[in-house]
Amino acid sequence: MLDAGFDPVGALALRMGDNALILGHRVSEWCGRAPVLEEDIALANIALDLIGQAQLWLGLAGESAGKTADELAFLRDAWDFRCLLLVEQPNGDFGRTVMRQFLFDAWHVEMLRGLCASSEPRISEIAQKAVREVDYHLERSSAQVVALGDGTEESHARMQAALDWLWPWAGEALVADPVDVALAEEGIAPAPEAVRPGWEATLRRVLGEASLALPESDFAHRGGKDGKRHSEALGHLLTQMQWLQRAYPGATW
């Protein structure tokens, strides 16, 4: 299924980097618009962590092709991105942003824990740095899901709606594709099946505490991490994100 020139380290780094980049971008869209000042600060913090991780992962992803992290971030079109569909989804209301973060963090932290034991030292090094940040992200988003799920009737309804809306995009990370299989075989990354139990346990624990009902369907959209069919939202995000680099090619900033 994979072509001969498959570069496992690059493939893993690209997926991790694109997730961090695109989610970081989405979160940064909140700037100055959060419901409370403390949230403005916290969201900026998460965005900062994620952009920092994107720099590391994309730096690694570009190594073999001699590309910089910036070139990868700003000069690829949508189809060359390898982020999960979940992270591309528009922010929606604050509840949806929180829920998206939680669903991603719950996977992200398990994935990074697995990557800390990667056979590839450049990967485990980045993962060890990132996992400390993401532990905190998960702690925070879990607490928020619980607070907003528990809070008022309205907030509970909004959080359930957010969960129901996002659920079909949550599963992609946990369904193995040929790249995942190859990476697991080489000991580069944990297999999705190895990540799933921890992810599920987190979901059950937090959503239970938040009195939110886990949707029953296990249907999951696919096409983000393999780039085969992103959602329309990604292209619109790129028109903003890449504007300056596209409009003024070759300039340094």
């Binding site: 910036d70 971030a73 907030s155 903003q240």
Partner: protein, 311 residues
């Protein structure tokens, strides 16, 4: 009154007033207005820069800008806390901002139209802000003074980052140089306005200076800002948009044109180019966030009740 005289003596002796101390009502009110306005400026000030976070040209620039805007939110937080020690809540101040009874710095009603504007905001706007704020580290009200000390440390960092962007632009491609000049053209006079109208026209100046809420005169600070900034513009190879600008050997400073004070007062009235958008953004954030704030307090209350019930 003797109380007032004793209060003034403490200030004159360089003492710091703390929240639990007696203070004249005018002192308290003026401070609330001034600190509140400063806090609101930090909050609204996130918007013009936030406007370019999603278009920042490199990952590093994006991170730096995010960190800067985050710092500003943090400054807002310090300042709201300082104002709260004077007996007004953050929510009250926010309501007053949204209803237009409290103001924020007029500079944030101008648009950021190119990446160079992000540089200009750091270089000129933060530069002017620092000039205003450094003396306020010695202001008479303790919580305010301590907030200013923290803030000034970060602001000078921001100003250097802004200047660094301007450097890159001014030494960059022709389009980048043009952006840099255009940014200076648009932000020069609004920056000069940040020091407020000439002291001659400023009503409360004398009392505020006696209270050490205001330390320097507006014109004095403006002159200092011009004297500091003009050589930087020259270093960047940019032209300050003022034909009258000239070094005055006698006074040891630059002669320069006054900004258009009519524009200043119009902007204060809400006629700045982005005034309506800024207020709308804040109002939307507040209204759309209501359910979140409600839920958070409801959850906190429930948690407390559960804890109590368990005891």
């Amino acid at each position: 009154s003797p109380q007032e005289a004793a209060f003034q003596d403490r200030i004159d002796a360089g003492e710091t007033i703390e929240p639990q101390d007696w203070m004249p009502e005018g002192y308290r009110k003026t401070l609330i207005r001034q600190i509140g306005q400063h806090a609101h400026s930090e909050i609204v000030g996130q918007l013009p820069e936030g406007n370019w976070i999603t278009r920042a040209p490199t990952l590093e620039r994006k991170a730096i800008l995010l960190a800067k805007v985050q710092d500003e939110a943090g400054h807002g937080l310090y300042l709201y806390c300082a104002a709260e020690t004077l007996g007004i809540s953050r929510d009250d101040m926010t309501e007053q901002l949204l209803s237009g009874r409290m103001k924020y710095s007029s500079i944030f009603n101008y648009p950021t139209l190119s990446w160079a504007d992000i540089g200009a905001v750091g270089w000129l706007v933060d530069g002017a802000a620092i000039m205003n704020q450094v003396p306020l580290q010695r202001t008479s009200y303790g919580p305010y003074s301590r907030a200013m000390i923290r803030i000034c440390k970060e602001e000078s960092f921001h100003q250097r980052q802004g200047f660094d962007i301007m450097m890159k632009m001014a030494k960059g491609t022709e389009a980048q140089r043009r952006m840099a000049q255009d940014a200076l053209d648009r932000f020069w006079y609004p920056s000069l306005m940040m020091f407020g109208p000439s002291d001659a026209e400023s009503v409360h100046s004398a009392q505020n200076m006696a209270w050490r809420i205001k330390i320097n005169g507006n014109d004095e600070l403006r002159q200092k800002f011009v004297d500091q900034t003009v050589p930087q513009a020259e270093y960047l190879g940019l032209t300050v948009p003022d034909e009258k600008l000239a070094w005055n050997e006698e006074k040891g400073g630059y002669d320069f044109s006054e900004p258009d004070w009519e524009e200043f007062f119009a902007v204060l009235k809400g006629q700045g180019p982005e005034s309506a958008e800024r207020m709308k953004a804040r109002r939307d954030a507040w209204e759309e966030g209501q359910w979140v704030r409600d839920a958070m307090s409801a959850h906190a209350a429930k948690k407390a009740a559960r804890r109590e019930a368990a005891e």
